[in-house]
Symmetry: C2
Subunit: 375 residues, 2 copies
């Protein structure tokens, strides 16, 4: 088998698993830090690994523009190029090129678009995207699809989903099987159960190493997203990993694990690190807030990241005020560590049959908010 997935345990819909790749094991539920341009922003790869991250995500769109897939291949693949020897999942570029309003043209064959950097013309299709991901040496290739905009009428969502399913077939055909590498299909269908079902059936008919839930976290809000997640994951095979793309906030992730999702990716921890936001058990805090100015305490009590182990809130507040790069470095590190601690906590709770207690405790603390805000 191209990618081996072990489903170790379930608790209601929540699942504990293990995904085996050529570059190592990914314990699920898993969070993948995003390394858009061949770097998880403001972090050394060894720092990313030290947080417990077992897999990262790379972006086909960004890497095909700079430095180009041929160059990455020539340099020995993305793992070697960026000094990350654990698994890598790449998206297909579809989501990014669809977002290039006014710069792209879609037809059945694929998408013509102009680079947002220099206007240079490119073309992406299922075959092109899979070929690029192959050159990058991605462990998990994603199908090239159309992320249906939200909101969409039933008819628009149906047409879009059906094209994505035809592209999924072409993607699978273009994928070269290798041991320890695999390709994931992507379920579409917007917020329509009937379309989600049709999409799931089309993907299962083709057969994939894993199944992603696409077209969510695009503005529909958590409530609507959870409504879809109440049924969509169960439409996908039990014996393969399920990946909710581009999600999300900590409580999105916990809610999605409860509904049977195994894998996540999101720019939030690193992006927040660049805008002075730190995640904590008691909800996010903004370190620019003047109340941190003379605070001796760490950002999060009990966190073992370098920021919380060695520095006060006062210091990171100061760095942030001075626009020092170290603020971004330390906050990004803390945030990724927070996410990976969350996933470790989820996995441990599932392992020990204490997931209900874990979830209750998680929501209780998040709802309390950072205690000092209440002083």
């Amino acid at each position: 088998m191209a990618l081996k997935f072990e489903l170790l345990k379930t608790h209601n819909k929540a699942r504990l698993g293990k995904l085996h790749t050529k570059h190592g094991i990914v314990n699920t539920p898993a969070f993948m830090p995003v390394g858009t341009c061949g770097t998880v922003k403001a972090m050394l790869p060894e720092s990313v690994a030290s947080t417990g991250a077992e897999i990262i995500l790379g972006n086909t769109y960004h890497l095909m523009l700079r430095p180009g897939a041929d160059l990455v291949q020539k340099m020995g693949g993305l793992h070697k190029f960026m000094n990350w020897d654990k698994p890598i999942l790449t998206d297909s570029g579809g989501f990014q090129v669809m977002s290039l309003q006014g710069l792209r043209k879609i037809n059945e064959d694929g998408v013509s678009f102009k680079s947002h950097i220099d206007g240079k013309k490119f073309f992406l299709s299922p075959e092109e995207s899979i070929g690029i991901q192959h050159k990058l040496d991605s462990n998990i290739t994603m199908c090239f699809d159309e992320c249906t905009p939200y909101p969409a009428t039933f008819e628009v969502a149906k047409k879009s989903m059906q094209r994505s399913m035809r592209w999924a077939k072409r993607s699978k055909e273009a994928f070269v099987n290798r041991d320890g590498y695999g390709i994931f299909g992507i379920q579409q269908g917007s917020i329509f159960k009937e379309l989600r079902e049709e999409s799931a059936n089309a993907l299962k008919e083709i057969g994939f190493d894993g199944y992603a839930i696409g077209g969510l976290a695009v503005g529909e809000g958590q409530e609507k997203m959870f409504e879809v997640l109440d049924y969509a994951p169960q439409m996908l095979p039990t014996d393969k990993p399920r990946y909710l793309m581009g999600v999300g906030k900590p409580d999105d992730i916990v809610g999605a694990v409860l509904r049977g999702v195994d894998m996540f990716d999101c720019v939030m921890p690193t992006r927040s690190g660049r805008t002075a936001q730190a995640f904590t058990e008691y909800g996010p805090i903004n370190i620019r807030n003047a109340r941190h100015k003379e605070d001796h305490r760490p950002v999060e009590e009990g966190c073992d990241c370098p920021l919380c182990s060695n520095y006060s809130r006062a210091y990171i507040h100061h760095l942030q005020k001075c626009n020092e790069i170290l603020a971004v470095m330390l906050l990004s590190w803390h945030n990724i560590r927070y996410y990976e601690r969350l996933m470790q906590g989820i996995r441990k709770a599932l392992q020990e049959d204490k997931f209900d207690e874990f979830v209750e405790d998680f929501y209780k603390k998040q709802a309390m908010g950072d205690i000092e805000e209440l002083k």
Copy 2:
């Protein structure tokens, strides 16, 4: 004694020494990375220490504005605040406030100025500056002086130097003696030998733990600077460390060690790290240059820093093109490591009586330039 200095060995004018402070030993000749706002830009303090740096410099002007000396003191001093437990030298703020053209007024008492950040009014004098450096818990306090602009007439340079000498006396008087802490005087006198002599005598009369050579590297060029260094260091006591402020490029440093200087500081390695310049044995290279685009080789063969150990020139070129923070992090780290390797090489050569060979080899390689530029 407040600070103990051991002169271990000399080779012509060059000196090998050891400076003992409360926070540890500084082997000289030493290079001090600059941590302007309580951080060596884009580096964790443990990374700075890993380069071999044994002391860093902090800036009184920047720290008094943000976060303020009282806050740093309240947080346990600068070492604790910024998580750096090795020695710290602070400048006096004099150089920075003198540069605030139009925002400052100087009289015999001191300098009134407005913050470059928010226009808030401040006052610095010898007593104020020494008091701030005390609150920061700096191991090496610098006298508050006037850095004479270049060029200056003999008369202007003389008046300025004489005021600095009166301020040096007040600085010394304001300094609180503590074990493992000390205060350095600063020689002024522009490029006039007679004034340098008068200044040196005035400082020796007051008596300091170390002596800095100020007013150089302010636009006079290397040739004129070396002319002054041909005599100025020898005017200062043999049994105390000599510190050339704000210097410099690698060949400035080697030339100054040859002329009897023991300590250096410069923003160049970190600033260059933010502008894509990397120092190497064969001279600096600019990593943005297209010739690095597909280059598998490290930035500098034989360098043991993380950049050179784990990444190709192609990768750092790519990061730089994408304005990724990791480019700044890795280049700053490499450059500081380059400087500290240079100092380690100088000390080893002095220790082993091979300094002449070292210097010859250094200049030969620097003159060759990065070999690949010649292809």
